[in-house]
């Protein structure tokens, strides 16, 4: 009423509500968080598309030949590994064969599915976007692999090898979340992960037990521990790094490591039931 009657109200000089909202003058674009970007970055970035990331000047472009060092190691699991609960699938979908949870997989004292990555120490380099595709399969109503690490710019190609339908429900933050159905026999779902992203799950709502973890890095120095808990990070440049190991339920651990050109260092992370 108030605004509908503005005409009359204006006549009586009684209008109480806000006046017209004429388009404000376009402003200089500043985010307000930090000082305005330099002209240089503005122009370079303008030429690239939404993805193109330009780090601060002073860094050099990375190429594979620059790294010669290697960090390898193992993830240990101390104590008795909890038994993985069996999942009864047939009452939800008789086409699912059944299986067990894959949250904590321990074999020979090594913990699988831990993402190891370099966290600090790469400031001097500028990394190109990743290329190619990473496969995520759905088989036996489980995701294979259960943990997926990839580089920004890569595409995740999700396939369905089951005789049943799945929906791929991604909870990504910086990359667009999606929830796409994938019936048996349907083609692969290709999703480009163009931004780095913290660990997020991909789930299937039809089969509530199905989930996998995906991490997207903006550099190539990451890996996932194999079934015996071993990992290798090759082609690192010399330097001091902070390594981070991250498990979906047991949490993060950090370690500092310094490698020389051509050298190899070993790092061991150790998880237990009471791990942080």
């Amino acid at each position: 009423m108030n605004r509908s009657l503005i005409g009359l109200g204006a006549l009586l000089a009684l209008t109480a509500c806000g006046g017209g909202d004429s388009a404000p003058k376009p402003q200089k674009s500043t985010t307000g968080s930090t000082s305005s970007s330099t002209a240089e970055t503005t122009t370079t970035a303008k030429s690239t598309d939404t993805g193109g990331a330009a780090k601060a000047s002073g860094s050099q472009d990375w190429n594979d030949s620059m790294g010669t060092a290697t960090v390898s190691g193992a993830i240990k699991f101390e104590g008795v590994a909890p038994e993985n609960k069996a999942i009864t699938m047939s009452d939800v979908d008789p086409k699912c064969p059944g299986g067990a949870e894959e949250t904590i997989l321990v074999s020979n004292g090594g913990l699988a599915n831990v993402v190891i990555s370099v966290n600090k120490g790469l400031d001097g380099y500028k990394f190109a976007k990743g290329t190619g595709a990473v496969n995520l399969d759905q088989k036996g109503c489980q995701y294979i692999p259960h943990v997926l690490a990839m580089q920004a710019g890569q595409t995740v190609s999700i396939t369905n090898s089951d005789d049943t339908v799945h929906n791929v429900h991604s909870y990504s933050k910086r990359n667009q979340a999606f929830n796409q159905a994938q019936p048996a026999g349907a083609g692969a779902i290709e999703k480009k992960m163009s931004q780095k992203d913290k660990s997020f799950p991909i789930k299937c709502d039809m089969h509530a037990w199905m989930n996998c973890q995906v991490v997207v890095f903006d550099h190539p120095f990451f890996t996932v521990s194999d079934e015996n808990g071993n990992f290798t990070l090759p082609k690192l440049p010399a330097g001091t790094y902070k390594l981070v190991a991250e498990h979906e339920s047991l949490g993060k651990q950090e370690a500092e490591v310094t490698v020389a050109d051509g050298g190899t260092e070993t790092v061991t992370f150790s998880y237990g039931q009471s791990a942080p």
């Binding site: 509908s4 005409g7 009359l8």
Partner: protein, 574 residues
């Protein structure tokens, strides 16, 4: 005699025309004020009818000016505001000032032979309190978050902050409070004046029925308007200060919180007497006018007064019939049904006496007479349909349908409005010393009464067919779609009704300034107001007259000079 002194006439413009304490000036102020609000309320009614007949179509002519944001379409919120304000305006700002403010102020001192009201300053205050109330009500239309949308009854919790936090509803409550204060001031003044300032010989049994009606209305005003005042205070506190008189604490358990039903009780303790507040002066006026223009004494004067007194006494104890569906207990429901039926007895007595007054009279069919007879007709229709609503069995179905709308428009609105018109046509020559045009007056009557009865009788049909009131759009629910044609007919009739009022406006304005100068007693009646010269001098009576005969001594064989009327100050032969 105190209050009967003659002070010098004020010469200052403000003292004379604005803050005057002269009852005649105040009566005219009330008259203009009431007429303007009646016009505003009427335009709102036209917009409501337009929306009902053509849901969602832009209101022609004034729509785009009033509602530019929607290109002239009434949105549901605006529609709710319109019917809320239509009710509030018509009752509190239209009929109350016209009937009680204007006619009451004009006729009481003149008819009882007083020089002014007993408390002239209070009288002036009464008008300005109402003016302020009107202004606040008007401002409430333009505040942010919308004007009031809770209906003129303003039931909580719809009228509390649960529904809206805007200030429109608060301002509405303040406006009703102020208007109530004005009514109380007027009521106290009228009552005291009638009791204390009657001229010598003006016994209670010689009091014109008009004065009786307004006197009894004042009693009701003084007794029951404070109730709505308090209810509005509580509502304002709920809205502004966060109290919880009417807001239940939790949804299912009543304990600990307020009670929305309490408000309904308070409202209708006032609300039902309010109906009689508006109708009692109307009864009084037509009781007089029917006698005046039938040239015949008011039949059963004492019975009429008795009936009005009985209605006054009963008015507060029948209010429960407004609440049959709110969950009254069986005992209360039956009691209120019985009491409501009983209150029809005085109405039947009045009808009998009015009709008997006409019987074997010498009817002068002037405009005021036509309107008085119109009151009998529309009040008959409205009153009889009251039986449906007093009976719980039928009321359960008809409650809050258009049947109710038709009913109360015929009883409270149309009857009171007709009596007001009758009063205006009747007293106009004395008020403005000019005559109103009779032909235009009669045109006005016939073009008012026919569409009016059509509109509200169609509403009876709609209500009987199950159409709930206060719906923005009756085509939204499948059940009501097949009734839409009735809405169209009603709207056509309503527009005709609205157009007919333009005749009145033209007649009123033309006669006010350019009309034929009126003689001292054009209607040939004997009450005190018509015995003084026209225009009425300052302080009315130089000498307080002494009264010897009753107000309705028409066609008395004992009247000297072969006239059929006698002034109250004259004596009958022998």
């Amino acid at each position: 005699m105190s209050g009967q002194h003659i002070h010098a006439e004020p010469t200052n413009f403000f003292r004379k025309h604005v803050f005057s304490v002269d009852h005649k000036v105040i009566a005219k102020q009330f008259l203009w004020f009431g007429l303007i609000w009646l016009g505003i309320g009427g335009v709102m009614a036209m917009m409501i009818r337009w929306q009902l007949a053509n849901p969602g179509e832009p209101v022609p002519v004034i729509g785009s000016m009033l509602f530019p944001r929607t290109n002239g379409v009434l949105d549901p919120a605006t529609y709710n505001t319109l019917f809320t304000m239509h009710g509030t305006i018509m009752i509190f700002l239209g009929l109350t000032p016209l009937m009680i403010g204007a006619i009451g102020n004009w006729s009481i001192p003149l008819m009882i032979g007083a020089r002014d009201m007993i408390f002239p300053l209070l009288n002036c205050l009464s008008f300005w309190a109402m003016f302020l109330g009107g202004a606040v009500g008007f401002i409430s239309l333009f505040v942010p978050l919308g004007a009031t949308e809770a209906g003129w009854t303003g039931y909580p919790t719809l009228s509390t902050t649960i529904n809206g936090v805007g200030s429109g509803e608060t301002l509405w409550a303040i406006a009703v409070f102020l208007i109530g204060a004005s009514s109380i001031m007027g009521g106290i003044n009228y009552m005291t004046t009638v009791i204390r300032l009657r001229a010598p010989g003006m016994t209670w049994q010689r009091l014109p029925l008009t004065v009786w009606g307004i006197f009894l209305t004042s009693v009701l005003n003084v007794l029951f308007v404070p109730v709505i005042g308090s209810a509005m205070l509580l509502l304002i506190m709920d809205r502004v200060f966060g109290t919880t008189f009417f807001i239940p604490a939790s949804i299912m358990q009543g304990a600990g919180g307020g009670d929305p039903i309490l408000y309904q009780h308070l409202f209708w303790i006032f609300g039902h007497p309010e109906v009689y507040i508006l109708i009692l002066p109307a009864w009084g006026i037509i009781g007089d006018l029917l006698s005046f223009f039938s040239r015949k004494p008011a039949f059963g004067y004492r019975a009429q007064v008795g009936a009005m007194v009985a209605v006054t006494l009963l008015s507060a104890v029948v209010y429960g019939h407004h609440m049959f569906t709110t969950g009254l207990s069986a005992m209360l429901g039956e009691s209120f049904m019985l009491l409501t039926m009983i209150i029809s007895v005085p109405a039947e007595i009045l009808f009998f006496n009015w009709l008997h007054t006409l019987w074997k009279g010498n009817l002068r069919l002037t405009t005021p007479m036509l309107f008085s007879m119109g009151v009998i007709f529309v009040f008959g229709l409205g009153g009889l349909t009251g039986i449906y609503l007093a009976t719980i069995g039928t009321d359960i179905f008809l409650h809050d349908t258009y049947f109710v709308v038709g009913h109360f428009h015929l009883t409270m609105a149309a009857s009171a409005l007709f009596a007001t018109f009758a009063g205006i046509y009747f007293w106009f020559p004395k008020m403005f010393a000019r005559e109103m045009n009779e032909f235009l007056g009669k045109t006005h009557f016939w073009f008012t009464v026919i569409p009016l009865v059509t509109v509200f009788c169609l509403m009876f049909v709609m209500g009987y067919a199950g159409m709930p009131r206060r719906y923005y759009d009756h085509t939204s629910a499948e059940y009501l779609r097949s009734l839409q044609h009735l809405n169209k007919y009603a709207t056509h009739a309503a527009f005709l009704l609205g157009a007919a009022q333009l005749v009145f406006v033209y007649n009123f304005i033309r006669s006010r300034w350019w009309g034929k100068p009126a003689s001292q007693n054009p209607w040939e009646v004997g009450t005190l107001d018509w015995t003084m010269e026209t225009p009425v001098p300052h302080y009315n009576f130089k000498e307080i007259p002494e009264v010897f005969t009753g107000p309705h001594e028409f066609s008395n064989p004992d009247i000297p000079d072969g006239k059929d009327w006698i002034s109250m100050t004259e004596k009958l032969k022998a």
